[in-house]
Every structure is written in C-alpha cells, then in structure tokens.
Symmetry: D2
Subunit: 388 residues, 4 copies
C-alpha cells in the first residue's frame, strides 16, 4: 500500500504533468471536439479535477466548500450514477466555463487536496486508495490529452505542430527474430503489492499452446508492402465488419498518412514529416492489424500470450492490438457504487491492447495492464506484433 508521503508526491507530480502537456496549446485548442471519441483538452483538465473533488474532498474533507456548484454537472463523464452528465457529443459546444476558469478550479482543488494529504493524520486505506486511483485516472487522461491534441491539430487544414521536442518514432535497431514459448499452464494477471486496476486482478492460471512471437513491432515499410500488394482491396483478408468499415469510410492507409505530391507523409506531434519506413507502424485499427497478419499468414497474439512472452522483447512505443476480446478475469467483481462503473461496464465489443506507447504517462505502464478500444478506433498510438 502506498504511503501518505509517496501519495503526496505522486499527486503533485501528476497534476503538474497534465499542465505541462497543455502548456504548448493556444486557448482555442482547449475548446474543440472534432469527433465524439475525443474530448476538448479543457474538459480533461476539469474532469480529472472533478474526480478529486467529487470522490475525495466532498466526502472526506470536513467543511469543504465546492469551487462552483455547476462544475460537477459539466465535468462528470460516464459516471451515470453521480448526477446528470453533459452528453459526450456536446462537450465541444461549451465555450464556458473558460480555460481560465478551469485553471483556477484546478489550483483550488490541487491546493485543497495537497493540504488534506499533508495535514490529515493517518488517513484510512480506503481514502488513500481513492486518491491513488484519482492519480492513475489522471495519468490515463494524460495519454488521451496527447492523442486528442494530435487529433485536433492533425485534422486542422493548417496542420500546426504541437511540440518540436516530442519524438513519436522510436526505431527498433536490432535484427528481427522469433521467440519460442512452450505449451503449458501459465499464470497471468497482477500479483498485487502495488497499484493496478480492478480488471488486472486476480492472478489466475491459463493454458497456452506452443507459439512463436516476433521480437519487433511491425514497421511502416512492412505495412507499405501490404498496401502495395492490394491488401485494402482483398475481401478475403478482412472481417466482414472490417470490410464494411474500410469501404464505408474510404480507408486506404493508416490514420495521419498523407500523400503530398507523390510522397508519403505522416502528421506527427512535431508537425508534418516524410514517412519514415523504419519507424514502427502507428494509428491502425484492429481490423487493419488483423488483415495484415492474415496476409502474412500469421496472427496477432492473445493477451495472455503477450503477457507471458513480453519479458523477452522490447515494448513501450506502441499499444499492441491483441486477438483477445476485453472480458472479465475469473472471479472479477466490480467495485460497489460509482467507482464500480470504472472498467467492468466496457467489457463487451472491445479488443484488448497490451504494452504502452510514446504518449503513456510515466509510471503508468506494466506487463499486466489491459488497455481496450473498439476495433475501428485509430487515434491512439496503436501498432502490432506478429505471432506464428
């Protein structure tokens, strides 16, 4: 269990990190919501703050005075059991509260919670746990902040850069190889002893068959071969839903790829760049990952294969699509009340991604982490690794 001092430090660092991410933005960038899946940056800043006010200060800090009675209404997200929420598609239509207001709200709550943590004596485990969840919750939103900002700027016809220092493409400069894992019973899931989400517990046995997994992520160059071979036009490589999806949406390449005067480019957080063939592929859907593997006559790993094999390879620059559907582990039990909505309610029609990405917050990746998205979504830094 985390100590009160460690938590104070975690809290302070986390709050500062979010603001650092936003320091490169113009006021206008905080406001817009181009599609329903992404949220305006000011909403992320407000929502992560609301979490601490709603679940900690309001409940445990005696005589706590809310910063503003209306805030809960605007910054609640999917916690349907706590008050009314602003429907998700409307977040981008709210010019008020202003960005300035949001920063004042953050300061007010950060100060109140810092004081609460530094002056309260012997806070109960339950309270420490909720604050710890709040920090990790904010770290999740830090990754979304980066990917949502990339979307907001990357869909703007002026293609403005975000931050010249942010390097997305970590080249894997070592020879390609296949790692062999033998058939047998393995244990998967989090062992406890440090923070993890409810969906990573409890540790349990699973049976794996023999398999071989690549030590490297698939690169842009490899995916270009698939494109040149007509991969997007061959129905037999695709799931029926994937085929409908690429045709309905006119998908012919990974997200953020642009052909400019015959030359392939990629929009990155550093702005528009020539496509680097050696960089690990990013911004593909599960459908594209599957079709690529099908074309290679290989497949994606399951999440348990990935978890067992990951000790033997380098990971961390791309979220890796797995074949596994997002489902509860044996004996999974939702937490009671509003926090119980956190993970369990999404356990249908989503695919598990393992690893982490260049946008993942510090101290927020581990081998048992289960990320999940609908199979068609591409605005995260998603890539893939092959199994045969």
């Amino acid at each position: 269990m985390i100590s009160q001092e460690e938590l104070f430090k975690l809290f302070s660092e986390t709050r500062a990190d979010s603001e650092k991410i936003c320091s490169y933005l113009e006021t206008e960038d905080y406001v817009v919501q181009p599609v329903v899946d992404i949220s305006p940056p000011k909403w992320h800043l407000g929502h992560t703050t609301w979490f601490f006010e709603e679940f900690v200060l309001k409940k445990y800090q005696k005589d706590y005075k809310l910063f503003d009675e209306n805030s809960a209404y605007v910054f609640n997200s999917y916690y349907e059991s706590v008050g009314e929420k602003v429907i998700r598609t409307d977040r981008g239509n709210l010019s008020r509260p202003t960005v300035d207001w949001v920063y004042k709200y953050r300061n007010y709550v950060s100060n109140a919670l810092s004081k609460f943590l530094s002056t309260s004596k012997d806070l109960s485990e339950d309270i420490l746990k909720v604050i710890e969840i709040g920090c990790h919750h904010e770290k999740q939103h830090q990754e979304l902040l980066l990917t949502d900002i990339k979307y907001i700027l990357g869909k703007n016809p002026l293609l403005p850069e975000y931050n010249q220092q942010f390097e997305e493409n970590i080249i894997q400069n070592f020879p390609k190889d296949w790692i062999k894992i033998s058939e047998g019973i393995y244990e998967v899931g989090h062992k406890g002893g440090s923070f993890a989400y409810d969906n990573e517990f409890g540790r349990h046995k699973t049976y794996l068959n023999d398999f071989e997994i690549s030590n490297k992520l698939v690169t842009n160059a490899e995916f270009l071969e698939f494109m040149k071979a007509g991969g997007y036009e061959d129905v037999l490589l695709w799931h029926a839903e994937g085929w409908d999806w690429i045709n309905t949406n006119g998908i012919k390449a990974p997200f953020y790829w642009h052909k400019i005067e015959g030359q392939l480019h990629q929009y990155t957080l550093q702005g528009l760049q020539k496509l680097n063939p050696d960089a690990p592929l990013a911004h593909i859907s599960y459908y594209e990952a599957f079709a690529f593997a099908q074309w290679k006559r290989m497949r994606l790993p399951t999440e348990f294969e990935w978890e067992i094999a990951q000790e033997h390879f380098e990971w961390g620059s791309r979220w890796e699509w797995t074949e596994s559907a997002y489902m509860p582990y044996p004996n999974y039990q939702k937490a009671d009340g509003a926090l119980g909505e956190y993970n369990g309610k999404f356990m249908v029609n989503q695919k598990v991604l393992r690893g982490s990405s260049v946008a993942t917050s510090t101290k927020h990746s581990r081998p048992t982490y289960r990320n999940f998205f609908h199979p068609h979504l591409r605005w995260q830094f998603t890539g893939l690794r092959l199994v045969k």
Copy 2:
C-alpha cells in the same frame, strides 16, 4: 450610386460595428459551433474580411499581397465556384487560425481597403458596387453574429449573459387595430436609386384582394393562450411537415423558453429573465406561426400584402414570417460568376420574412427587404402578424 467618400465612411463604420458586437465575448466563445446552422463568431469575422480580400483587393489593388495563403480556404463559405471550402459542419472544429490571428487579418485587410478607397482616383462603378455589397454582406453577418452568440450562450448549461445593455423586448404600447387594404393592382419591389439586393428588383405589378392586417405583432400572452388551448397537440392545425417536426423534436414551446420551478422564463442576451407576457413573441418557426394563425382562424400575410400595408404600422423588432415562398421576381437575373451565387441559389423550400429585428444592423432594413429561412428554423428573432 454611392460616392467614394460615403463608401469609405460606410466601410469604416461597418468594420467597427462587427468588432463592437464581439467585444463582449471570451476567446472561447469565438470558437464553437453547436449546430450546423450557426457559425463560430471568429468565422464570421474572418469570412466578411475574406470577402473584401477575394473580391476587391486581390482583383483590383495592384501588387496586393495576401495576408496568408491559407485564409481563403478556411473562410470561404458557400461560394462554391471560388476554390475549395471548409465544409460547414466542420467550422466549429477548427481551433486555428486563432482569434488573435483573425483580428490581425481584419486589421490588415481593413487598412488595405481603407487605403485603396482613400487613395485610388475615380474608382469604377463596378468596384464601388462590390465594396458596397461587401459592407451590406458584413451587416447581414452582424445580425447572424448576434443570433449565433445567443445560441452559443443560450445552449450553454451555465446560461451566461451576453451584454446587460442589450434590450430585446420592445413593447408595443398601443391599442390593437385592423388596417384595411382594398383590392387592386399594386407595385412592389425596390425602386432603385439606393442599395438593395438583387432579389428585391425589379419593381413590378401584383394583384391583391381585400384584406385586413393587424397593427401589432403577436405577443407572448397571445401565444400562451394557444399553448394552453392545446395548440401543440391538435394535428388539424399543422402542416404535415410541421407536425412531424414538432413530434420528432419534442417541440412544445418557442425556442429559449424555460420552465423553472413552475414559472416561465426566457433566455435573452441579457441572461435568463421571467417571461414578459406583453413582449412580442420571438423565436418561433414558420410552422408554429402558421398553426397559431390557423387556430385563430386567420392567416399570415403574403410578402406583397406586407409590403403594401407596412406604411400603416410599426415594424422592426421581429422578423415577420409571411405565407410567401422565396422565389424570383419576374425578370430576375442572377449576377454572373461567384457573386451570382449570392441569393438566387436559395430560391427553393424557404419562406420569406419581412421587416427587421432588434438584431438587425443599422442602415440594413427597408420595406422591400426579403429575408428567407427554412420553415423550421427558430434561432433568429422571428415573430408574426395576423391577417384576416
């Protein structure tokens, strides 16, 4: 024909007026587009500026240097024959160019055009005419700025006020009466000699039957009687499309009406207020105007009845729905080229509104002015006057 000096003055005043309207906004208010029919305020400011750059400076000012090569792309509107346009539903997703950029763009173009007007000798009629159109075009957008701002703030759950000094509700404190007009041939349309849009020419004869028209606009109190009598529930009062529209959208009252603890309120540019029963009704669709008249066993005027009768009554605080569909006058001819897109292309499926409103720009109302909107739209200051 307007003189070069008069035009200089008109131009300067018009440009200043737009900026005055926006002086009450926060930066964030300039950015959002809650529904497709309205546009972000910064778009209005940029688009009216683009008009002068595209149709005047670029064509007639020797050695004119564009402020920014990308501006035309972003601020073009419906002029499909001039370059690519940003599709209308995407305007609210553009955080860049910033508000600050837009003001710099305005200053650059205002200065260039002021200099052009004050230093060029003997500008041709054609050039003066385009600049004059540009000023009236900007006046049209001033009314849209106000009504779009009202929408942006009025749909925000915090219901912020825009400007405490802006009075919407001009009470008509005189007795109700009926004005009789006799059957016969009348002349309608603009006589020429001063500015008017192409859709107001040419003046022509029309035959009117006997009719009587009210000297007052319908009030909130009168519309409340219709509501209390079940007007929204009686199918026989409505057009088939109107009936579908109220039921699909759950319409049960004029736009911006709120019932708060049993008391009717109205959102205004001064913020939320108790509903004033004596104020002229505002923010209704043509369908509601028609159903109300049907319930009264009366009707709406045609646009020609209104034009002939208007000398005899007070008008100017509400756009008045007429029964007339928006169609060309006899011998109407579209202007050639891009400016020809201005009015003629909308002459189907829209209803004519006559008069003007509290949001109409100065020097932008006249008895022959033909405003037009789709019958279901309500975000303008729309009301009605009865005929029997």
Copy 3:
C-alpha cells in the same frame, strides 16, 4: 352537382379501372415497398376501399357491418385524426392481410356502396359529394399505382415488363414555336359547376407580365445536350439544395435511364427500351428542370402563366414542373374534420405541377388541376416546358 345515376356509373368505372391496372401483376408485386414514397399496390387497393367504408358506409349506411375490424388500422393513410395509422415506412413489411383478402374486401365494399347508391332515395348533396371525392381520390391512387408499379419493377434487377400495350412516349410531331401572352390581369382557378379539389377554388385575379411559352415539351434529345455540355457538373446552374441532392445521391441522368454497352436505354412499363431522342423527357426532379432552364437562359412558367397559356398548346403526357410553390389560393379554407387534411396540410416545401401524364386516370385532368410534389421526387412522369 353530379346526379345519383352519374355517380353510380363513375363509382363502378373507377373501381373497375383500379383492378384492371393490377391485373398484370403477380401476387408478390402487390406486397413490396422499395422506398418510403411509394406504397405496395395492395395498400392502394385497400386504402381506396377503406375511404368508402370509413367516410360513407360507416356513417350513412344503416346497420352497415364492417368487413373486418382491423382494416381501418392497416389502410388508413395520413388521416391522423381518424384512428391510429400504420406508419408509412412499414407498409412494405406487412404480408397480411393477403392480396386475396384485399380483393374480398373490395368486392364487399363495392357491392355495399353500389347497393347504397342504387337503392337509397334522394341522397343528400353532402353524401354525394363525399362519394364523388372518394372516386376522384381513387383516380389519384390509380396514377400512383402505375408509377409505384413502375418503380417496383424498374428497380428489380430483372427489369420485368409490366404491360406490352402501355405506350409512355407520345411524340410531339409538330414544329417548335413560342406563344406570346400579353401583360395584364387574368382570372385563374376553377369556375365551379363540376368536380374540382378544394385547392383549385376560388377563382381569383392575378397580374401577369408579358411572357412567351413553348408549344412543346422538352425532349430527351434536348436534355442530352445539357448533359453533354456538363450541366450536372456546373454548380452555377443549380439551387444549393439541388446541388447537394445530385452530389449526395450521385445523380447524373434522369431516373430510369441506363447505359448498357455504351447505348442509352430507358426502363418503361413495356420493359427496357433504347432511349428515343424525340420522346418528351420524363422522370426529372424540379432541380433538374430548373438547372436545364437556367442553362438555356430561360425559366419555368409559374402555375398561373401555365393555366392562362394552356389553351394554346398540347399537354397531357407529362406533368410539368412550374416555378410556383404550392400555397393556398386567396380565401382558401380547409374543410372541417378529417377530410380537411386532404390538401391544405401539404402546402409547404412543395412545387406545383400542371397538366397531366400518360398515367393519369380518365376524367381526372383539367386546366386548373394543381398537382404537387417535393422538388427532388422523380418517380412520376415529370417533364418541363420552357418560358422566356
């Protein structure tokens, strides 16, 4: 006023005509509804029967026994004030009642009404009028039967013929000429003394300017020139809504035109045929009619211009789009009750068509007849005539 004997004859003929039209169908053809605007043939047969049962027999025939309690529910159409209706989009999903049942229903009601007409003494004018309306109502549905059958068969990939004897294309074998009409006051609308719909009354004065109108309908050959000249690609020829409509729906030619091995064909009620360049153009929308006229630098007639000029030219094989919006005549008053829904409720967002077509029922065309459709609809036999 029609006499009881004449009405008996009219009723008998009308009922027989509907069944004649359907005699060329297979049972399956009676059932389907490919798009919301058309109705299954069995629905037309049932609905026209329901009209007589609901508005005549149920009200005026003593001891009348309904054929089936459920029929009203299924065959009501837009008469929202009379019981619940089956929503229009669902008509094609009803396999029951069967076609056999519908014919039994028709016979039952036809017999009952024939008996009522032949044995009742001195029926009141009101009753005779409702039966007369019922006959004309059925005649309207006869035209819809033919055009809906054409749609059902013409959208079937097998393109089956309907009836080898049905000739759609009446060639106008006379020289093209322009008819001049002089400016002045004219009277329009129905004079009374014989059957007409409420929307044709009352006769009233209108002022027309000088105009010239063609003595011939526009032909396929003329429209082909427009197509070859790039008419569908020139935005300046189109209404904004028309431009959206052709682009959203990929419209590049009139409805029912097919290019087969480089050769233009047209689906007709006689099956697929080579396109006859001399035949009058059919199956175009108002938007296409307008764009064609714009390209010719001419225009469409208003409905009153058409009505005044029609004595001087041949008409009757194509419904002719006019520029006029469908609106009430001066002093128009809706009938009370359910029959009041008949025409008035459609008087918004529709365009008037004048004349009649090859599919129009006998005794169902006259110079004052006002047909109306939304501007994008093309499954009727719609054409155009130019004015300059």
Copy 4:
C-alpha cells in the same frame, strides 16, 4: 467421412424439411423483410439452392445447364468473392423472381443434384464434403426460416399464427440444482469423425477454475422478478453499450412480450398466448442476460465451461448466451476461396451461444457447436443459464 448413400439421404431429407417449414405460409409471407437482420423466406429457399448450384453442379456436373443466368446475382449472400450480390437491405424489395419460380428452381437443382449423387461413381471426398456442408448450411437456414417467419408474423399488427402444432415452450419440470465442476485442464472442441464446422476444430486444452452451474434454464418467472425489482432502470447492472441500447430503443421487456389489458402475453408461433411463468425465458439480448446475472450476483458461463458441464444437464430448447466472445480456436485456419468466408470473417464483436433451440433443425445440434450473434439481437430463441 459420410458415404455417398448417407449423403443422398441427408440431402433429400434436408430439402424436404425446408419446404415443410414453408408449407404453412401464404405467398405474401415469402416476400417481406421487415428489418435488415432477417431475410424473406423465398430468399432462404433460393439461397440454399444457389449454394448447391454454385459450389457443386456448376463445378463438378459435366454439361450442367444453369436454371437461370440471373439467379446467382439475386441469391448470393455474403460470399463477396463470388460475383455481385444484392445488398442485404434490398432483399425485401424484390417481388421477382416469384415464389413459384423459386420452387421450380429448387426442384430443378434438387433433381440435378440427386441424379448427380445417385449416378456418379466414387465421388471424391472434396465433393462429398461440399455437398455435406451444403446440407448443414441449409439446416442453419431452416432455423433462420422459422425465426424470420416468427418475426414477419409477430410484427404484423394482425398477429397471425404460423402453425398451431409448433410448441415453443418446453417446461423443465425438475428441481433446481447446482452442478460443481473442479479446477483443472480440460479438452474442448470437436474430436473429428463426423461433421462439424471449421470453427469447432481443433480440439485443444483449456484451463478452468472451480465453478458451479445451474441444471436449469432461467424461467419467465425469474426474469419477471428482475423486471419488478427495476432491473431495466438500474444503470449499474448494465454494460455501457447495453444501457445505451435499452434507452435508445425503449427496451423494457423481452422481445415478443405484450401487455394487453394489464395481462402479460407472448407472441409465439402458435399465435398470441398468455405468458407462461414456468417456461424458459426466450428472446433476450446478451445485454439483458448479463444484467440479469449481475442482479443475481452471478454470471454467465464461458463457452468452455458450458461445453465441459453440459453432460450433466438438459439443454436444447434455448440458445444460451455465454460470456465468451466469438474468436478462433488455436491453430484455426480459414478454408481457401469463397467457402473460407463461411465463419472466420465474423470473428469480431459477436458473442458465442451454446446449445440449440426448439427451432434448430434435426441432426444439427451437438455439444461443440458454436453459434454466434451480435449482443443486441433477440429474434432467435435465446435464453440463459447461471453460473456462480
């Protein structure tokens, strides 16, 4: 491997069964398609016939003459690699080919294939296998025929019965009990030696934890308790997508339930009946199954738990939703070519159902059978069994 004689018998019986199912229909019932998920009965009859013509007779029967060149086009389904298909939403708009034609087509192909089977000597395993698949493919469509017919008649406002002899509700008249299964490695999947689909192979090991499973299906009475306890209103019981689904669609009860004068009824293939509380629950979505289990503080079985436990309980009247997502078994390999589209392309976003139902064809159920549907679909005979 099945012998040629056995196959002849299987083929004959299967073809006859389909026609027996349709013998209770009116011609009109064969034609309609009320929603995209169901198909018109005549399409099922034609499509299963097309399968034998396309994959057997056309390829292997020397000098085979197609019954009609157009048939492939109309009756192809999702086999995108074989010619163009009629898009699925359009099947209900095709009145031709007629039902009569379809029966002639069936006879022609049945006779040809019977002759082929009875006169060809020593047909290869490959050919026998395709014919065997064709028979099982038709058996699958027999279940769809019954459930689609139930939908067509059950959504008709007249609620006609299908067949008075068809009993849906098999009551389980024995005491409720829990079957314990111990933790360990188990083998699942088909052993081979008789027919099974590609998705059931290969047999492989899996690790199961301790669990207890009910010996009975959940009944209507049990589900009514959930409803009375407010199950449909408690957001914490539902997946986020399930909650959206019930609210968007106004779902408040299982499909085919009707409240008539305060009394619960159920539409069945025998017509409308009072709801039998002891009957096994039917026509629920996965979302409802999950919410019910959540409310009971239990869960659904995984497909492997079900497969291992099924020897110990009675099953066969309801398809049982499992928690398992539909995914390939280890070493699953799609068949080459068009038949490869059969199963693999659906392995995303669907849930596995195990068992079989009252509508399942004879000889078409086995413990390893993997049925799959999207989680919101309810028109199959779907129920559930609890695990704790």
